[in-house]
């Protein structure tokens, strides 16, 4: 593809006018790093008092009471500080240029959220300053089957592609309940009821089965070197749905009510796919045992409730009650505000249901990593994992905690002591999708 000259001009102008410098990923990894003498919450194997973390080539090389780092390592004295894995938000709509919902059809599985991703949105910076290192950026909840998510590492200041989480599994967003009803019912279109909601889904999968069968037949012929094989037409929408049926997409479902969790699981069984997580999931405490058996996780609010009918039975004990029944529980923001203080949201779980600090921190690190499918690489402080680390001034579950340093792949992306924004990799001008005074234009109706 040739570069379009006007686009080049636009790009040059953007740099010239705003002075923004987007650095490429550093070619060589930063020097070894040791965070020394901190309270280290590993999220996977408890808390180490006076522990150290050794970072080599962007990965955690060792964690423990002592580490065998080379003398050349940069040592950060973290005496009195706390270190956690980077916070992971499994449900965000940040930095999507306000293009969250393609609400023109209840089935839009070929929408790719990466196409709306604005890597200079100030919301990313705000989240970074709250210790957030990985985000799952999801389509909105207007559609029963929305679009495909983008997974980012919050390397604010790097080029757009350098912020993508390398080789992260693909996720697709489904919704249910009031939002699709409201959006399409309001236009006198299908669906306007929960009956309509689920029927729209079933029909979509029936169509996808036919499409898949066509391709399977074609591929079989090709395998047999049958010269009469004619490739079916590629259809982006059906292709995406077929990938759901093939198990190639993690299914993330916006769902509030207990009855709907059960219906969603039944439909998943009927068509042979797995549900990775229910998002919001405010009534999970009512049917947690059943959903635990399905190995479906939840990404829930801590204490938001009452904003609509299907949030009327929300209780702040939901997360811990569900966890005690075997559900893997993550907390999430769904908000450019809450994403800045997910550590506090985790702290609330100590109070509402008596989570241990270890369980609480896991809800914003390792468990959301599992939901996104990157728990083998991030979400805990274990050797071999990516060095995504946050240094806090105190116990991160406290109201008073502040993230002081945020490392991603061993590189420092936020430093509270640095001047200006405190972002070693970003200078220049940020964008804001929330620049419209007091209206939170990005959030309304997404819950």
């Amino acid at each position: 593809m040739k570069l379009n000259p006007p686009r080049i001009w636009t790009a040059l102008l953007a740099v010239g006018l705003f002075g923004t410098v987007l650095r490429a990923q550093p070619a060589s990894p930063p020097p070894d790093l040791v965070l020394r003498n901190a309270t280290v919450m590993t999220a996977s194997h408890g808390t180490i008092e006076h522990g150290s973390v050794w970072v080599h080539a962007g990965k955690i090389a060792a964690v423990g009471a002592t580490v065998d780092a080379p003398a050349s390592a940069v040592v950060v004295d973290a005496t009195g500080k706390w270190v956690t894995p980077g916070i992971i938000d499994p449900h965000s709509h940040s930095a999507l240029s306000n293009d969250v919902n393609e609400a023109t059809s209840p089935v839009t599985p070929s929408m790719m959220m990466i196409d709306a991703f604005d890597n200079r949105d100030a919301a990313l910076y705000h989240a970074l300053a709250g210790g957030v290192t990985t985000e799952l950026l999801l389509h909105g909840s207007a559609n029963m089957i929305g679009g495909q998510a983008v997974v980012i590492k919050n390397k604010f200041g790097l080029a757009r592609d350098a912020m993508l989480f390398p080789n992260a599994p693909r996720s697709i967003k489904f919704a249910s309940g009031e939002n699709p009803k409201r959006v399409y019912g309001g236009r006198n279109q299908l669906p306007s009821t929960r009956m309509g909601n689920f029927e729209v889904m079933r029909q979509a999968f029936e169509d996808a089965k036919v499409y898949m069968a066509g391709w399977d037949a074609y591929n079989a012929k090709v395998a047999k070197k049958d010269a009469t094989a004619v490739a079916p037409k590629k259809d982006l929408k059906l292709e995406a749905l077929a990938d759901v049926l093939r198990g190639k997409l993690y299914v993330q479902i916006h769902c509030y009510r207990a009855d709907e969790f059960l219906t969603e699981e039944a439909i998943a069984h009927e068509y042979g796919y797995k549900i990775r997580a229910f998002h919001h999931a405010l009534e999970m405490y009512k049917v947690a045992g059943k959903i635990a058996a399905e190995d479906t996780a939840i990404a829930t609010f801590t204490d938001w409730w009452g904003f609509k009918d299907e949030a009327w039975d929300a209780i702040p004990w939901n997360a811990v009650m569900s966890m005690r029944q075997g559900v893997r529980v993550a907390l999430k923001s769904d908000s450019n505000d809450h994403i800045r203080r997910l550590n506090q949201e985790a702290g609330k779980m100590v109070r509402y249901g008596g989570a241990t600090e270890d369980e609480a921190i896991r809800m914003v690190t390792l468990n959301p990593a599992w939901i996104i499918g990157v728990d083998d690489r991030v979400g805990s402080i274990d050797s071999g994992k990516d060095a995504d680390l946050v240094v806090w001034n105190m116990d991160p579950l406290s109201t008073y905690a502040r993230a002081e340093k945020v490392y991603i792949d061993g590189d420092l992306f936020f430093d509270i002591t640095a001047s200006g924004f405190g972002t070693p990799h970003f200078s220049g001008a940020m964008h804001s999708a929330d620049d419209s005074g007091s209206e939170d234009s990005g959030e309304e109706g997404l819950q």
Partner: protein, 461 residues
């Protein structure tokens, strides 16, 4: 799981998501007998007004605090009911200065929403007490986290939105003695900025900030003129006029004086033009604050500023006005290209300049909190994390709020003679991990029950 009859109704309620009005309220608590003494002993008292007292004793008689001090200073009388507060923190009930409690039940359900009357921009004659739903399920939820009082204000759609009430989060209904509405029309709610321009687009006045200010100024002038004519009418010799009037009316005399036609809208503005009660002005941007303050000063309004989250460049000016400020919500997002903590540090920056500040529970971008009122203490904690001294943070959700709205002699601190609105918690009230154990309102131990605890308990079986 055993399903009992009472619980069945709750489950049915959940299943059908029916009107919240059908949901059960917690039971009413027993009220102590007259003269009965309740002694809360052994706890750490955060008095707000005079520091912390370790191993403190607090006595309650007839709904009021009768003694506060160390165990050495205060003698527990014989026969007192002892509440063992060892290991607990004891502090005055929290007060939220900006809520829509009782004006909204389910956010998305328009029929349960009475927050604003958007038919006109100038609506001073809207009285929150007319819409206030004391039986709301939201009150017990907020109370369980130690919020005992709140200002209920209309939503932010109008330039002049209506008049606030001051409530107590107790009682079965709003008429119940000692409960619920403590003050009517305690303040006038005003708003200024981009949001109050009519949403019908540009076709209707006022469609600009110029229009909004002109309209407001005219309304205030109209109210002054109205008062002049009303006073003139009342100065006419009443008895003879009335008699003559009766006679004349019988005769059908066209010159007979008519009864003075009251204009409730303009009349509603008068106490505020006299500076008798505060006007709470909700405004976000620095230049908007300056515009609206010009009008407020012109008419000598007694201003409490609200929000001011984008005023970092005029903090000295705000301090010079010597008006109290409800800062926040502290969770408002900063402007693009501001440092991430530009709003988090505002309470500290204003307090440092000597401004009396309060904090509210609202979430970003919305009207005052309703469902989020229980999180009021965490807003104060957040302000403390970003530089506000701890004592000031606690004051900003207790005594300062009481003083701003005329309840400083009754509420907001642990002092002798004040209403016994008291909270017992497992630790620091501003920390998210702290569990509230017991809430007293007017000395009555409130049931620690809400619809949410009932659901929790049922599904924990």
């Amino acid at each position: 799981m055993t399903v009992r009859a009472t619980i069945l109704s709750l489950a049915l309620l959940a299943a059908f998501s029916v009107s919240p009005a059908l949901a059960a309220n917690p039971p009413l608590p027993p009220v102590p007998k007259k003269g009965e003494v309740v002694a809360i002993t052994g706890g750490k008292l955060l008095t707000v007004s005079h520091g912390a007292i370790e191993n403190g004793v607090l006595l309650i008689v007839d709904g009021k605090i009768s003694a506060v001090g160390t165990s050495a200073q205060v003698t527990v009388p014989a026969g007192a009911t002892i509440v063992d507060a060892r290991g607990l923190t004891v502090y005055p009930g929290l007060i939220d200065p900006d809520t829509t409690l009782g004006l909204i039940e389910v956010g998305a359900d328009e029929m349960s929403n009475d927050t604003a009357e958007p038919s006109d921009e100038i609506m001073p004659h809207m009285h929150v007490y007319d819409a206030f739903h004391a039986e709301t399920q939201l009150i017990p939820v907020a109370r369980l986290n130690g919020v005992t009082n709140a200002v209920v204000a209309p939503g932010t759609d109008d330039s002049v939105a209506g008049q606030d009430i001051f409530i107590q989060l107790a009682g079965a209904n709003r008429e119940q003695l000692g409960a619920t509405i403590l003050g009517r029309d305690i303040a006038l709610a005003m708003n200024y900025g981009a949001d109050q321009r009519r949403r019908g687009g540009k076709s209707q006045f006022p469609s600009t900030r110029m229009g909004l200010i002109t309209q407001l100024r005219q309304a205030l002038l109209d109210a002054q003129n109205y008062e002049t004519s009303r006073d003139a009418a009342s100065k006419k010799p009443e008895s003879s006029d009335a008699k003559a009037g009766d006679k004349d009316a019988a005769k059908g005399d066209k010159d007979a004086p008519k009864p003075f036609a009251r204009d409730l809208k303009l009349e509603a503005l008068l106490p505020y033009l006299h500076g008798e009660r505060p006007v709470v002005v909700g405004v976000y941007e620095a230049y908007d604050v300056e515009s609206i303050m010009r009008v407020a000063q012109e008419f000598h309004l007694k201003v409490i500023l609200n929000h001011v989250t984008r005023t970092q460049e005029i903090l000295d000016e705000i301090a010079a006005w010597k008006v109290p400020v409800i800062v926040g919500p502290i969770y408002e997002l900063p402007r693009a290209n501001e440092r991430y903590d530009a709003v988090f540090t505002l309470p500290a920056e204003l307090a440092r300049r000597g401004v009396k500040i309060a904090l509210s529970s609202g979430e970003a971008g919305g009207p005052g909190g309703a469902h989020t009122v229980r999180n009021l203490p965490y807003a104060a904690g957040f302000a403390a994390a970003y530089g506000l001294p701890y004592d000031d943070a606690l004051k900003a959700i207790t005594l300062n709020v009481a003083e701003m709205f005329g309840f400083g002699d009754k509420l907001g601190s642990l002092d002798v003679g004040k209403t016994a609105n008291i909270v017992l918690a497992s630790g620091d009230p501003l920390d998210v991990r702290t569990d509230v154990k017991q809430v007293y309102i007017e000395g009555v131990a409130q049931p620690m029950v809400s619809r949410q605890t009932m659901l929790r308990d049922e599904y924990s079986k």
